[in-house]
Every structure is written in structure tokens, then in C-alpha cells.
């Protein structure tokens, strides 16, 4: 920053502004636009011939830009530098730590696998000393099925073993846990031949899965020696469950980590993930690095096309007493997972540095703006003073040099303003003194003209006082002209009023004439009305008489109806008696019927007696016949007896004939009684019908009584109504008389009104003559 070069350029700006090259509206601009214009101005001055080109780029920048650039460069650069260096060192350290951790984890897995396999080695040793096979006595005591069951139990109790078998020295199985788990002869298998050669426990390197299998086979075998003779008798073979080993190794490995076990033949036989075998790093491990030959713990970032992965290697080293299988462990982690912490650190550092830089930049901008603000304000104010606006003042705060500069500029502006005000006041005093002299002369001339015009006006208006309303003044300019105009207006109004009064009196006269005729007519009509009302009175009296007649007739009708009602009631009583006698008749008939029935029953009894007599007659006849037979048998002595018997028989026959006649008579009687009974029943029915008819008649009579009573009531109400009608008609008569009197009074009143109207006509004539004195039209 070089202040001695800054200010001359500002002065150049001011001189250019006073030269009038500034655009209008400069004083209303905000500070930011002020700033922009200052830049523009600066560019103009830079192109002017007075400024040299040697001032360069730095001098072209505004004061605010320069201050900002300086503040930013001092604030932000150290923060960014320190952040970058710190990140570099920390990342180095983190990478080293992660690599070491991978190596340690891989070594742990290697150690675990070694211990696992050593434990299985110990198991094999235990199996080779099983008494069931090693001890001759036990061996002879057990059956093949027992051995198989024993091995099966062992396999089932331990999840580690998949299959277990014992074979003899010819390779034929003698005991199996699973009959399908082993072929019929194993003498060609490598473990069998190993044991024949070494007479010791052997492990076979993991064998690739046979056709159809999924897993590698981990097979170990051990010779079984007779416990007494020490002779090798059998071999025990176990097959490990690779799944179990895989699970245990997987438990060791972290998430997102691939772990692979490699055997001595550099073949991958176990991975903890399904796709682990296909990893190109694992497939090409022996080509990429020489770790498998070195058998040292190693770690490095390898990339074989499927992304960089942090790869760690550890050899599996068994106990010195156990066979060395030369297996290795390789673990792989994606670098993105492994170095996640390092990336987080980078993000944090970048974010922190960014935020700090932004904060510093914001503070620097604020400080620079506040510092340059007063200088820019002063520049703007001085520019306006130069344009002639002397009311401009600078808002000064504080006591620094910039504030003092502002105060002095304010003082200068106010002194120039005072000088201008004093000059204006002296000019106005001179102008007012000249104006007073001119005004006095004008007033004198005006008075003279006024007096002349007034005299003329009075002359012209003289005739108006005599009633001539047609006169008019001559209109002139000036005050008198205005008065004349007012006079003209007054006289014109007066003339209009007088004309209206004349018309009104004429109208009053004519209307009073019309009214007189109408009132006369009214009086005549009132008299006619009186006559008509008298006629009406007569009619009303006639109506009253006829109403009285109606009332008399109604009373007579009521009496007739009463008589009819009484007659109907008498008839009702007679009907009741008729009904009673009919009912008596009915009971008499019923009694007669009973008697006739009894008669019928008696005749039936007679017929029974008759049949009895008939029977007796028949028996008598029979007896007579028998008597005749006996008499015939008696011969001559029986002749007399036979005659008697014959006579008895004749009597019997006669009595039989008489009974027949009686039967016939009784039958006739019964038929007669039956007819009588039927006739009686018909009579009873007719009596019932007669009773009903009489009762209906009685009801009809009752209705007649009711109707005649209703008629009576109605007639009585009619006679009441006629009485009230008579009263009403009398009232109407009185009202009519009152109306007659009222119309008489109307007639008199209308005569009085006619008299009054005559007076009114005279008054109106007087008014007319009075108005005629005014002259409202010119004589022409």
C-alpha cells in the first residue's frame, strides 16, 4: 500500500468532475454504485494524457479492492497451509496402522487354523488307540454292527467330523460310520499308501471336490497297532467337515473381509465367502508376489483389475510335534473399507480448512469495507460541492484524520452559502421602493373617472321611480358599470314579479267565476238529495212492515211444526202398543205350536196302542185257528167247539180291521198336525217381520219428530232475526232523517260560500287595478 500514490489520482478525479464531465443524478447513488462509478472515472482518467501508463495494474484497482486483497491473502493462506501439512502426516500414520492391524488379524487366523489342525491331529492319535480295534479281546467281543454304531455315534456327537472309517491292511473297510462314505477298497488312495510307507499318522493335502461334491475333502488317517503285539492291524480314516472349519474361520474375519486358506500346492481350498475363489488377486497371488515362497507375514495393496485391495499374508505354522502342512492364510479388504478412517480425516480437514477460510474472508471483507467507507463518503460529498450543491454536508464520526478532513470541508461549504444569501437580500430592497411611488398616482386618476360615471347613472335611473320598469342604464367599464348592471338586474326582476302578479289576479277572477257556478250546482244537488232520501225513508218503512209479516208467518209455521211433532210422538206411542200386541200374538202362536206338537205326540201314542191291539188280534186269530185244529182232532165232539173257535177268529179279524182303520185315522191326524206346525212356523216368521217393520216405522216417526223440532228451532231463529231486522230498519230510518238534515245544512253553507266569493271577486279587482299602475312594456 502506497498512500502517496493513491491520493493524487483521487485529486485528478475531483478536477475532472468539476469540469462537468460527470453524468446527472450522481448524488442519489448508493455507495456500491458510487464505487463502480469511481472505477469508471478512474478508467477515464487512466486514458487521459495527463496520467502516465507507468502506474501499472495495481494503481488501476480501487482502494476497497486493494484492502480486500491484502486482508484475504494474510488471513486464508496460513490456514490452508497448516491444514494440508497436518493431513499429510496423519494419513501416513493411519495407513501404517491399518496395514499392521491387517497383518495381526491374518496372523491370528493362521494361529487359530494351526491350533485347530493340531487338535485334530491329537484326535487322530486318540482314535488310533481305541480299544475296540487295538485290544484283541475287545475286538473279538464286538460285532461289525456294534463297531459301525460306535463310529456313527462318534461322528454324530462331534460336529467337526463328517465321516469316519476303519480299514484293514488290504484296504477293505471293517467299520464305517456311513456305508456310502468310503469306497469298497481304498488301497490305491494316497493316505493308505502314506501309512503303509511311514507307519505313522498322516494328513493328505486338501483334495479338490469329486464330481458332484461342493466342498474340498480334508482327510487324515492313522495306523492302529495291536495293544499287545504292536503289530499294525487297521487304519482309521477321518474326513473333516470343511463347513465347520469355514464357519470358525469366518467368525474370526471382520465384515467385508475375504479370508482364503491355501495349501502347500498353492491351491485355494477354503474361502469365507462364495465368490472369494474368483478374486483375481487370489488367483494370481503366486505370480504377483513371492510371499508363498518366503512364508513371512506380509501386507500390501494389490490391484489385479477388480479394484485395489489391501492384501495380508500369514503362513500357518504347526507345533513342532505335529506334521507341517505348509498351509497359508490370505486376507483381502477393499481399500475403500480399510482406509475409511483416513478418508473421514481428509473430509474433516478439508471441511475445517474451508470453513476457517470462509470465516477469515468474511471478517477481512467486513474490516476493509468499514475502513474505506468514510473515505468514499468524503469523495462523494466533495464531488457534489464541486457541482454547486452547497447544502451538502459530510457525516463525520470520530476524531481521526478522515473526520477532520470532513469537518473542514463542511466549514468551507457553509461560508460560501452565507455569502450568497446576503447578496440576494440587497437586490430585493431596491425593487420595493420603486413600486410605492407608482401606486399613489394611479389612485388619483381613478377617483375622477368614478365621479363622472356616477352622475350619468343617476340620470338614467330617474324614470324608474315613477313606475316605468322598462328603463335600462348604459353599461360602462368600471365600478359604476357594475352598479348599473346590478340596477338593471333589480328592475328586470321587479318587472317579472309585477307581470306574474297581474297574471295571478286574472286567474283568481276567472277561477272565482267558475267556483260560483259550481257552488250553486252544489246547493241544488243537496236539495235533490233531500227529496231522494225522503223517498228512501218511505221504502224502508214498507220493508219494516213486510219484515213484521215474515215474523208472523214464521211464528205460525213454528206452531204447525209443533203440531206435527206432537202427532208424530202420538203415532210413536201407538206403534209401541202395536209392537206389544204383535209380540203377544207371537207368544200365543208359539204356545199353540207347542200344543199341536203335543197333539202329534199323543196321536203317536195312540198308534202304538193300536199296533198293540193289532198284535193281540193276530194272536187271538192264531188261537182261534189252533182251537179249530184241536176241534177237528176231537172229531164229532169238537164240532160245537169248532164253531166257537171260528167265531173267535172272526172277531179277531174284525178287531184287526178296526185297528187298521184307527191307524189310518191317526195317520191323517198326524199329517194335519204337521201342516198346522208348519203354518205356525210361517206365522211366527211373519210376526217377526211385522215387528221389524213396525220398529222401522217407529224410527221413521222418530226422525219426523226430530225434523219437526229442527223446523221449529229454525222458525224461531227466523222470527228472532226478523225482530232484529225490524229494529235495524228503524235505525236506518233515523239515520236517513239525520242525513236529510245534514243535506239541508249543506245547502245553506253553500249559499254562504257563494256570498263570500262575491267579496273575494271585488278584492281581486282592486288588486288588479293597483298592479296596472306599473308600466311593464315599452310603448312601442
Amino acid at each position: 500500500m502506497a498512500p502517496n500514490t493513491e491520493f493524487p489520482s483521487q485529486l485528478n478525479n475531483l478536477s475532472a468532475a468539476s469540469g462537468g464531465s460527470l453524468p446527472d443524478g450522481m448524488d442519489s447513488s448508493s455507495y456500491s454504485s458510487q464505487d463502480a462509478r469511481a472505477n469508471q472515472q478512474y478508467a477515464q482518467s487512466a486514458t487521459s494524457p495527463t496520467s502516465s501508463k507507468g502506474k501499472g495494474f495495481w494503481q488501476k484497482l480501487t482502494l476497497r479492492t486493494k484492502v480486500l486483497a491484502l486482508a484475504l491473502s494474510l488471513g486464508v493462506a496460513p490456514v490452508v497451509g497448516v491444514g494440508g501439512i497436518g493431513y499429510f502426516f496423519v494419513q501416513q500414520r493411519v495407513t501404517t496402522q491399518v496395514t499392521e492391524t491387517r497383518e495381526t488379524t491374518t496372523t491370528d487366523i493362521a494361529n487359530f487354523t494351526a491350533e485347530f489342525m493340531d487338535a485334530r491331529f491329537q484326535d487322530l492319535r486318540t482314535f488310533s488307540q481305541l480299544s475296540m480295534f487295538a485290544d484283541a479281546k475287545v475286538r473279538e467281543a464286538t460285532e461289525v454292527a456294534d463297531r459301525n454304531a460306535f463310529l456313527q455315534e462318534l461322528v454324530e456327537n462331534s460336529p467337526l467330523y463328517e465321516d469316519m472309517a476303519v480299514v484293514d491292511l488290504q484296504g477293505n473297510p471293517v467299520a464305517v460310520s456311513n456305508p456310502d462314505g468310503i469306497p469298497s477298497n481304498v488301497s490305491q488312495n494316497d493316505w493308505f499308501q502314506n501309512i503303509v510307507a511311514t507307519q505313522d499318522i498322516t494328513w493328505v493335502q486338501p483334495r479338490a471336490p469329486r464330481a458332484g461334491g461342493l466342498e474340498f475333502a480334508l482327510i487324515g488317517a492313522a495306523p492302529i497297532f495291536d495293544s499287545t503285539t504292536g503289530e499294525m492291524l487297521y487304519m482309521v480314516r477321518i474326513r473333516l467337515d470343511v463347513q465347520e472349519l469355514k464357519q470358525r474361520v469366518s467368525a474370526f474375519a471382520d465384515e467385508n473381509t475375504e479370508v482364503a486358506l491355501i495349501d502347500a500346492n498353492e491351491q485355494i481350498f477354503l474361502t469365507n465367502t462364495e465368490e472369494g475363489e474368483n478374486n483375481p488377486i487370489l488367483a494370481n497371488l503366486s505370480n504377483a508376489v513371492s510371499w508363498l515362497e518366503d512364508r513371512e507375514v506380509q501386507a500390501s495393496i494389490l490391484n489385479q483389475g477388480a479394484g485395489p485391495q489391501l492384501t495380508a499374508y500369514a503362513p500357518i505354522i504347526h507345533d513342532p510335534g505335529a506334521p507341517q502342512l505348509n498351509w497359508s492364510v490370505v486376507s483381502l479388504v477393499d481399500t475403500s473399507t480399510a482406509f475409511a478412517a483416513s478418508r473421514q480425516l481428509l473430509t474433516t480437514v478439508l471441511l475445517g480448512t474451508g470453513i476457517t477460510a470462509l470465516l477469515v474472508a468474511a471478517i477481512a471483507t467486513l474490516v476493509a469495507t468499514r475502513t474505506t467507507l468514510p473515505i468514499l463518503q468524503i469523495t462523494d460529498s466533495v464531488k457534489r460541492l464541486g457541482q454547486g450543491d452547497f447544502r451538502t454536508r459530510i457525516d463525520t464520526q470520530g476524531e481521526d484524520e478522515i473526520a477532520q478532513l470532513g469537518t473542514n470541508i463542511n466549514l468551507m461549504a457553509s461560508q460560501i452559502q452565507n455569502l450568497l444569501v446576503k447578496q440576494e437580500e440587497s437586490v430585493q430592497q431596491q425593487i420595493s421602493a420603486q413600486a410605492q411611488v407608482e401606486r399613489a398616482e394611479e389612485e388619483r386618476q381613478r377617483n375622477e373617472v368614478l365621479q363622472r360615471e356616477l352622475v350619468q347613472l343617476l340620470n338614467e335611473m330617474e324614470e324608474a321611480s315613477n313606475g316605468n320598469l322598462t328603463v335600462r342604464t348604459e353599461l360602462t367599464a368600471g365600478e359604476i358599470g357594475i352598479i348599473g348592471d346590478v340596477f338593471n338586474a333589480i328592475i328586470e326582476n321587479l318587472r317579472t314579479i309585477v307581470v306574474q302578479v297581474k297574471q295571478a289576479t286574472g286567474q283568481v277572477n276567472s277561477s272565482i267565476d267558475e267556483s260560483e257556478g259550481a257552488i250553486q250546482q252544489l246547493a241544488d244537488e243537496a236539495l235533490a238529495q233531500m227529496d231522494e232520501i225522503t223517498n228512501t225513508l218511505n221504502s224502508v218503512e214498507q220493508m219494516s212492515t213486510s219484515i213484521q209479516d215474515v215474523a208472523d208467518n214464521a211464528r205460525q209455521a213454528a206452531e204447525v211444526a209443533q203440531v206435527a211433532s206432537n202427532a208424530a210422538q202420538d203415532s210413536g206411542t201407538a206403534m209401541d202398543r202395536t209392537v206389544d200386541s204383535i209380540l203377544d200374538l207371537r207368544s200365543t202362536v208359539a204356545e199353540t205350536g207347542k200344543k199341536v206338537k203335543q197333539l202329534g205326540e199323543s196321536s203317536q201314542q195312540i198308534s202304538q196302542v193300536v199296533s198293540l191291539i193289532n198284535e193281540i188280534a193276530m194272536k187271538t186269530n192264531l188261537l182261534a185257528v189252533n182251537a179249530s185244529i184241536e176241534a177237528a182232532h176231537a172229531g164229532e165232539e169238537g164240532q160245537g167247539f169248532a164253531v166257537v173257535a171260528s167265531e173267535v177268529g172272526q172277531l179277531a179279524e174284525q178287531s184287526a180291521a178296526a185297528t187298521k182303520e184307527i191307524e189310518q185315522i191317526v195317520k191323517n191326524i198326524q199329517m194335519g198336525t204337521r201342516d198346522v206346525v208348519e203354518a205356525m212356523e210361517r206365522g211366527t216368521t211373519q210376526v217377526v217381520e211385522g215387528t221389524q217393520l213396525v220398529q222401522e216405522t217407529k224410527q221413521g216417526l222418530g226422525q219426523i219428530v226430530e225434523v219437526s223440532q229442527q223446523i221449529d228451532t229454525l222458525l224461531q231463529s227466523i222470527s228472532k232475526a226478523t225482530v232484529s231486522q225490524a229494529e235495524t230498519s228503524q235505525t236506518v230510518t233515523q239515520l236517513m232523517q239525520q242525513i236529510t238534515q245534514a243535506s239541508k245544512r249543506t245547502s245553506e253553507s253553500s249559499r254562504q260560500v257563494a256570498g263570500t266569493l262575491h267579496n273575494t271577486v271585488e278584492v281581486a279587482r282592486e288588486l288588479e287595478s293597483a298592479v296596472d299602475q306599473f308600466k311593464v312594456k315599452t310603448d312601442a
Binding site: 193276530m618 194272536k619 186269530n621 192264531l622 182261534a624 185257528v625 189252533n626 179249530s628 185244529i629 177237528a632 182232532h633 169248532a642 164253531v643 173257535a645 171260528s646 177268529g649 172272526q650 179279524e653 174284525q654 184287526a656 180291521a657 187298521k660
Partner: protein, 180 residues
Amino acid sequence: MNASVLAHRSIQPEGTAGASCLSFQLNEQTPAIFSMHQVQEVIVLPAQQITPMPNMPSCVLGLSTRRSRVMWLVDLAHMLLSTPLPSNIRNYNVVIIRVAQRLQQQNMLVATAHNQALLGLIVPTMKGVVRFPPDSIQTPKGHFAPNLAPCLRGCLLQQDEMLLVLDAEAIARSPILQSS
């Protein structure tokens, strides 16, 4: 009934002379008489006092007792004219005939006592006792039913009707009454 009374009276004048006979109706149209000597008795017998017997001809109605004597009862119209009585009759008119003892070995049906055999003949209607001279009996003329002819003694013309004179012995002897 009046007619029957009159008939009785018309017979009466000549009744004193001649043999007496028992008159009855064999059916509605056929009057018949028995000689009084062959008749033991006439009775009215209730239907329930007749005991029906199996394995007998259809005209034999059964057995009954009369005054400590057993007798067979025969429907006479059924036997002679093959016109049986209606089955709803409550009281039967029975003419008991008697025949001589000597006929016993010929007809097992006839009960015997005091050298006399009894047989009950059921007739529809009993008429009474008539008398007529013995020489007025004529030999039967015309055609009669085959069962009737052997039992016929003759016929008697009386006014406008013909009386059949039946032989009681012939009836009792009739092979029709033989038990099957």
C-alpha cells in the same frame, strides 16, 4: 185287510158242511190248504229260537223245540217253489204237521212221539180255517213246479182263484229234505 175279512165271511155259510182245512198263502200269488187232520198246531216262532244246523239242504232253517219236542223247520215256499223267504223276518208263522210213525225208517228228519212225527213248515201268511165239501177237490190241471207236483193232492176252485191242496205226508217224505 177288508178283503180278507170279506173272504172269511163268504166261506162261512158253507162252513158247517164239509171237511175243515187250514188255509194259508204259499207266496203272494199262491194260496194253499192243508187238511185239518194233518195239522198239529200253528204258532208264531221268534227267529232267535231256531238253531241253524250244518250239512242240511238250504230250505231247512234249523231245529227248535215245542212242548219238549224237537222238530225241524222247513221254508215251504223255498222247498216247493224255490222262492225263499226274505232273511229279515223276526217272527215266523209255523204250521206244525204230524205224520204217521210208520214213516220213521224212511225219513230221519221227522221227530216222533206217540207214534206221530212232527215237522214245522214256515209259511209267509196264515189265513184261517175254511170248510168245503171233500168231493169238490179236483185233480190238478196245468203245469206246476217240479218240486211241487209230488206233494200236491189236488186243487180247489174257489170263485176266481185256485187253492192248492197240499199233502203233508208227501212233504215229509220228500227226498229234498234228505240230509246230504
